[in-house]
Amino acid sequence: MRAVLHAEWTKLRTVRGWVVALAVAAAAVVGLGLLTGGQGSCGRNGPRSECVLPVGPDGQEVTDHFTFVHRSLTGDGSITVRLNGLTGVLPRKPGLGGPPDSTGPQATEGGTGDGQPGLAPWAKGGLIIKDGTRPGSTYAAIMLTGAHGVRMQHDYVHDRAGPPAPATTPRWLRLTRAGQTITGEESPDGTAWTTVGTVRLPGLPATAQVGTFATSPQFTWILGGGRGVGGAMGGPSEVTATFDNLTGRDTGPDASWSRTEVGGDASPQPEQLGASWRVTGSGDIAPAVSGISGIGTTVSQTLAGTFAGLILVVVVATMTMTAEYRRGMIRTTVAAVPRRGRILLAKATIIGAVTFGLGVLAATVVVVVGGRVLRAHGVYLHPAAPGIEVRLVVGTGLLLAGAAVLALGLGALLRRGLTAVVAGIVVIVLPYLLAMTVLPPEPAKWLLRVTPAAAFAVQQSAVSYPQVDDFPIPVNGYFPLSPWAGLAVLAGWAALVLGLAGFSLRRRDV
């Protein structure tokens, strides 16, 4: 086998066109990755324009923007309130593309002033206990949501579901502190109570702020598929929560209430709490995300050049096989190595190893340099853990290698360079393109689950949280499969095609 590998390696490196094409493939991955850098506004408009997101207790970046009616609570204590339903305003749904001669969808940018009534699914109102009013500080909250019932959430990423409850009917909520332990309870009538969750907040100081809150995240209308057809349009939404029946035991000496827009500019305003009061808010208390519901981008963006590289790799990998058939060299090869399966295996090993190496090399450069270019151009880049960056780099190498082996198999199966190259590109690149541009989310997800294009999941670095409506659809940077599962789909296809090719190579005359 070593001799066969050596022979195939010599065949590959002695065709100047192939070597050049592979070098260009690596250069394309790097070059296009850096080219997409673009322009952002972070840091461009003076010292206060830097994009700095609050950092949560676990060190991750968070969104922390809500309206808080609060007072101090020192030591242990409990607060109970009745939430008399949520009402809200959504951005206006864009004009619908009905008859073809209409002007079509138009974005409704700006505030919610011209919006329509409605609740965002993750609009929130309820009770919260928080370390002061600084964005990013530790907290725990029991809340009613627009469409997800009662929830207990703490420290931005943790979310626990309570009973489902409509957002429009009254609900009783209670938050109790005992040392570092916070318990959230809810009740439909104020007598029969259910515990939704008990959480520990190790960083919560002796005196914390406690009270009622409301906030409602960015809302997006998804229109059909990606930006090619209808796209996504939206804006901020707003929620109003009405509270009454407040009972609080063991509150500290400072019993006066304040109203603060956490994460906003205004300073706390004194508040006279009547028998009933309203809290209106816009924003979110959640992990920060990229994509249409968040800001900035992820380092995955720098890997856009992979496609150009991929196409070149497909061409070269196919030709390493079909060139043998063009002038009958395959007969010489088979005469030299009569065990034909070995020829195929050796070719796959060599082209796979070479493209893996090139992919890793190019991806390393582009992830490291591309991230810097994006930041230098004022684009907010979500930090990726080192583990994720390693996965992106290794994954890109494996993606190219998998595509190369698949293309080689197609070449051996179809024997004609032209057909095999087009087949290779169509099965790997076209599903991705269709999913990203024209198809509605459901067929798009389906394509990215079953076709070799599923492997692009390995380049996803955006993290999806169930409690953030960031539209986990392909066009927004979320793949339906996990990174390694996606890569496994490609590997499966490559193995299948290579197996068929080996079978046909053994059976057919050369």
């Binding site: 997409t36 673009g38 073809p100 079509g104 229109l223 991705y432």
Partner: protein
């Protein structure tokens, strides 16, 4: 020229696979269009998307088959060395290229018309699409022109690079990579410029019937951009076939 055309016609119709490829253009175009139309929901007859464009989604796969047809039209002759026989028979090389371009235009027009018409019929039965609307007719007629221009682009590129597999990679790369890089670009201006020069994105602007204000380039100018790419490719191919040893 008439004789060269006759010869090219005989070649084309006696190449095994031509009929199959032309049928594939139709099947690929109509098939993907049906799938896309079936996947699109129009609750209460109101669609959130440009249903004309959705009905013509199959053009995106059809163009790959058209590219194969165009590449093999001259690529197969380079692959086998038959190009020497062709050029010995018709020594005026630009005549050979022109004859091939005309033949290609003729057969692609036939296949593309069938594919686009089929897609619209499917779109009409699955979506509330009015096929007699002038903008829809513009999109349909433009899609046929689009496929023809993709074919000519592929013919020019193949004449220039001579290896069929490389040519196919180049053409599909040219078509598919631009929009993907555009998707990744954060800078809206950069994306807009990319959409204005990309052969596929600009060319397919002809399929849009709604939201024309959002387009980076107007439908007919977009198709003209693709036309410019095709003309440049044919020019390069023509120059090279004229100047180079066969």
């Amino acid at each position: 020229m008439r004789r060269a055309l006759h010869a090219e016609w005989t070649k084309l119709r006696t190449t095994p696979g031509t009929v199959l490829l032309l049928l594939s253009v139709v099947v690929a175009t109509v098939g993907i269009s049906i799938l896309a139309a079936a996947a699109t929901d129009c609750p209460g007859g109101i669609c959130a998307v440009d249903i004309t464009k959705v009905s013509l989604t199959g053009v995106q796969l059809g163009q790959a088959v058209v590219a194969v047809l165009a590449v093999q039209l001259i690529g197969a002759e380079y692959g086998t060395g038959m190009i020497h026989v062709s050029l010995a028979a018709v020594p005026r090389r630009l005549t050979v290229l022109a004859a091939k371009a005309l033949m290609l235009t003729a057969v692609v027009t036939a296949a593309a018309t069938a594919g686009v018409a089929g897609s619209l019929v499917a779109g009409r039965s699955l979506l509330p699409l009015t096929v007699t609307d002038t903008t829809v007719l513009r999109a349909a007629f433009g899609s046929v022109l689009y496929l023809i221009l993709v074919g000519l682009l592929a013919l020019g590129v193949t004449t220039a690079v001579r290896t069929p597999a490389t040519a196919a990679g180049l053409v599909l790369g040219l078509l598919y990579v631009f929009p993907i890089v555009g998707l990744a670009a954060t800078d809206p201006d950069f994306r807009r410029h990319l959409d204005q020069i990309a052969p596929m994105t600009a060319g397919l602007a002809i399929q849009r019937t709604t939201g024309l204000d959002d387009l980076a380039i107007s439908p007919w100018r977009g198709l003209a951009v693709l036309g410019a790419w095709a003309a440049a490719a044919l020019l390069a191919g023509g120059l090279l076939i004229r100047l180079r040893d066969a």
